[in-house]
Structure formats: C-alpha cells, structure tokens
C-alpha cells in the first residue's frame, strides 16, 4: 500500500471528484460561465482540503455540457492552490492520449504539488473524445489495454523500450521529469460489470470502481473477481488498493437530500444520457443497501460502513456536483462531510497496527 501512498492505519480515505460537467442549474434554468465553473473547481478543492478531505479529482470529457477538457491544466492550478490534499484525475481518458505525454503531465503536477499527484486512467463512457481527437472507436478495447500497459511500464522502469500498434516505438527512452518519489499511484477506472475489473486485477493495477446506484451487493462480484484475477496472475491482492465512487448528496434529513439531489440527477442524466433518472429507483436509494450516496449524514455513514465491510476498499470518491449543483450546496455538502462523516468513517475503518 505504501507504493500507492496509502496508510491504512489512518482509516479509509474520503475523496471528492468532478467530471467538470457544465450543465444548467435546473432550479434557476441558467448556467454559469465556463470560466466561473473552472474557477469554482479550484475553489472547491481548497474547501475540501480545509474540511480534511483526503483526495480531490477532476476528470476529462470532450463534449457538450463539460468544461474540464483540459483536466491536467485544472489539476495544475489545484496543485498550486492547495498544500496537502491528494490530486487525481477522475478519469484521464487514456485511449485518446499519448501515455508518454500523460506521464510527463502528471509527473509535473506531482512535482508542483510536492508528491500529491495520481492518475486514474479510463476508457471514457462517452464518444466525444474519440471523435474530436480522431481515435477509432472500433479499436476501443485494444487501444486502452496497450496504452495502460505502456503507462504502467513508464511508471515502473527508468528507461523504456517498447513497441506496440497504436503509438510509435520507444528505444531506451527516458521520460522526464520523474515524479517526486520515482513513481505515481496509477489506478484503472472500472465500470460496474466484472469484465473490466478482471482486466485490472490481471494487470496488477489498483482499481477505482464506479458504484452509481442499485444494490451495493451487485458490485461485490467485481471486487472479488478483481482480487481473484490479481492472485491468479501472481500479484498479492492484499497489496493492491481498491477505491469506489458514487454520486453523493447529504442533507439534514433523507427527504431533504432526495429533494435536493433529484432535479440535478434527473437533468444531468437527461442531458448526458438522453433519459432521466427514474423516481421509483431513486426512492429506493434511502435503503442503506443501495449504493447511491444520498441521504442524511447518519444514512451516508451507515452506507459507507456497510460498503466498506462488503468491499474492503481503501478509498471512497464522492461526486457532489453532478447536474449543475450550485456552489452553495456544494459548500454545505463539504461542511457535513468534514464535520460529521469523515470522523465517523475514519474511526471505524482504521486498520489496527501491530
């Protein structure tokens, strides 16, 4: 775990992340400017740090309704604006980028932030980046596997000799600058079903698993499959961290949380996926066994501890700004996370030292 800068004796890490979505606020019908949205991301990272949140992530998306296309640039600004919070992508769409360039960028952020940078590499769940940057969707799967392997190799070796199908070969290449401690924590972003989790385990790379909603138990299969695949391929699964992510909204009562979150959730899904979020399903999310993190702080704590028992993850990442949630609501969420949720979670998930 040390290689991944995780100290289990401090308890499960709690992080916030944004996809940088830039959607109108359904309650006011208006949308803030891209400039304000980007500046608010930096501000939110500072508030998160002050509240004792462990990690802050920004992901990239290259189409309408998003403002964080240049996520590494935003993460660079966050590196300057903060002192101790870990900084990660959430995720970097590696398939459309050059792994060498990604490594250069994140090593630089690591140096700027004094060793706080991490990469979460994913395939992306939208097609915008592929169209814009000219990557053939037909090769979607092969491209990602090849690029992630190269990124991992760059992280582990000083001189790179490499040959593949989707990038020019490298001959004894030195990738500079090097990160502060010689390597970066690099995670693989995994959607719900076990197939990608198995690929992550097979590669022996830490996994960030999205658990957006529905029974938390459903995602247990992916966690087990990940660990099994790692063991089968000669890795020690116990030394590989797992993180989970979900949509998040906390309020004083469960009903207030449902009322506060629903318009944003529904508008966001409508804009990005073309169909809204079913109310019947959303109403079920106040059951502690449902993965979506919506409810009172007591319910959120119960959900997190239940999931920690199920998955044994080292990190939870909350998406608190989906669907145009305004800044004042984000501040209120961060306040409750810092004051009530993190202390309870840390207390109960701390690994006892010898």
């Amino acid at each position: 775990m040390k290689k991944y800068r995780i100290d289990a004796t401090k308890g499960m890490e709690f992080g916030l992340y944004s996809l940088g979505d830039h959607i109108l606020n359904p309650l006011t019908g208006s949308r803030i400017s891209a400039q304000q949205r980007i500046q608010e991301l930096v501000e939110v990272s500072q508030l998160a740090e002050q509240a004792g949140i462990d990690v802050f992530g920004v992901g990239e998306s290259h189409q309408k309704y998003f403002a964080s296309q240049a996520h590494t640039v935003i993460l660079g600004a966050i590196a300057q604006a903060t002192q101790k919070i870990k900084i990660t992508s959430s995720a970097t769409v590696l398939s459309v980028l050059d792994p060498v360039r990604v490594y250069e960028d994140f090593s630089t952020i690591d140096l700027l932030s004094d060793g706080r940078a991490e990469i979460v590499a994913g395939r992306g769940s939208r097609v915008g980046a592929y169209q814009l940057l000219g990557v053939d969707l037909q090769d979607y799967e092969d491209i990602f596997e090849e690029k992630l392997e190269l990124l991992k190799q760059i992280n582990e070796e000083e001189r790179i000799t490499w040959k593949g199908n989707y990038r020019a070969p490298l001959q004894n290449a030195e990738i500079l600058p090097q990160p502060k401690d010689g390597s970066l924590p690099i995670w693989r972003a995994v959607g719900g079903p076990p197939a990608s989790a198995i690929k992550a385990g097979h590669m022996g790379i830490p996994m960030i698993l999205t658990t957006l909603g529905g029974p938390a138990m459903n995602f247990k299969h992916s966690v087990d499959a990940y660990r099994q695949a790692a063991e089968n391929n000669g890795f020690d699964a116990q030394s590989l961290p797992i993180g989970t992510t979900s949509l998040f909204y906390v309020a004083d009562t469960n009903n207030e949380a449902l009322q506060g979150m629903y318009p944003h959730l529904n508008t966001g899904f409508q804009a990005i996926r073309g169909s809204g979020y079913p109310k019947q399903q959303f109403a079920q999310s106040t059951d502690y066994r449902d993965a979506m993190m919506v409810g009172s702080k007591e319910l959120i704590i119960e959900k997190l501890l239940y999931q920690h028992e199920l998955y044994g993850m080292q990190r939870f990442m909350a998406q608190i700004d989906f669907g145009g949630v305004p800044f004042d609501k984000i501040m209120k969420n961060i306040e409750m996370i810092g004051n009530d949720i993190i202390p309870a979670i840390k207390k109960h998930t701390r690994e006892k030292g010898e």
Partner: protein
C-alpha cells in the same frame, strides 16, 4: 399527449396503408392530441453501433429523438421471415435499454397470411416489455385479404383499429394518473 405512429418497414405497402389509416383515426377522433407518423422508408437510418442515441446525427438522431419524446407509440410492423423486419429491430437497438419507461406501446401487424399470428406475443412484446413499455395487450393483425388496392377493405379491421386507438389513450391516461399520484407520494 404526444402519439408517434411508426411504420416499421421500408418496403411494401400494407404496413404503410395500415398506419396511414391509424393516423387518420387519431386525427379524426382525438384532434386534441399531437399525432405524428414516422414512416421509416422516409429516412436514412444508420445501424446501431452502440453509441447513445443522442450521439447520432441526421435522420437517425431525428427519428430516435422523436420516439423518445413520445408518450405513446403505435408500432406498425410487417412479418418478415417469421419475425419483425430488421429496420424495426434496428430502431430498438438504437435506443437506451429503458427507452419506453412511462410510455404506452400499441401494435399493428400486417402479414400475408395468419401463419405467424403469435410472432407479436413471442418476439415483439418481450422486447417492448424489456424496454419498460406499458403494452396495450390486444393488437390488430391484418392479413393480405383485408386490403384492396392500398385501402383496408375489411370493416372488422377498421373497428379494431378504432378500439386500439381508444385503448392506447385510456392506457396512457391510467398510467399517467398513477405516475402523478406516485410522484406526489415521493415528495421529490
């Protein structure tokens, strides 16, 4: 309410004839509703490649968005090789898995003979149920012998189409009332 009538084939005349008649019934009897006929023969639609429907362009985007914005669908299909035509299946493949949630779906079938009368029960209804449609249970099955020179000549079919139109609207109104009541109970 917004009613979209789909003529699901790009060849032949029977399905088109039946759906034009269906449109005529809606326009005459229910002028207060918004009715639109989508004849797939009028559009150049791409094969589904796994993208979200909002990521397509042109006719594909137009047709899928029109269907997604409907409250009720009257799906007209011929019988090809004991099944629905590929053109209609492609429309289902282009849409999200729960595309027909809160929508009513009614069915009109045209066929040469009655040989594949249960095709709808065995093939079309399971697809619509999976996509979460509220299906009007009875459908109108029209054979070759019910047509005469691009007109429906069997009065029984006309009466059945009348009832299908009425059932479509009643089913939508019933589920709409349930939905409103449930939304009030949720309180969000």
């Amino acid at each position: 309410m917004k009613i979209v009538i789909i003529s699901g084939s790009i060849v032949g005349t029977k399905t088109k004839t039946a759906m034009l008649k269906t449109e005529e019934i809606f326009l005459q009897k229910y002028p207060e509703h918004d009715v639109q006929l989508l004849d797939l023969a009028d559009y150049q639609i791409e094969y589904s490649d796994g993208r979200n429907y909002i990521d397509y362009e042109g006719d594909t985007k137009y047709v899928t968005e029109t269907i997604m914005n409907a409250d009720a669908l009257i799906i007209g299909t011929p019988v090809f090789q004991a099944s629905i035509p590929a053109t209609l299946k492609n429309i289902f493949d282009l849409l999200p898995i729960h595309a027909f949630r809160d929508k009513v779906a009614s069915i009109v079938v045209t066929a040469g003979t009655a040989k594949h009368y249960l095709m709808v029960e065995q093939q079309l209804k399971p697809i619509l149920a999976y996509m979460k449609a509220q299906i009007v249970p009875t459908y109108v099955f029209i054979e070759e012998q019910d047509f005469l020179r691009k007109e429906i000549s069997n009065d029984d079919i006309i009466f059945r189409l009348d009832r299908l139109a009425e059932d479509t609207i009643s089913t939508f109104e019933a589920f709409e009332a349930i939905r409103i009541k449930k939304d009030e109970a949720y309180g969000f």
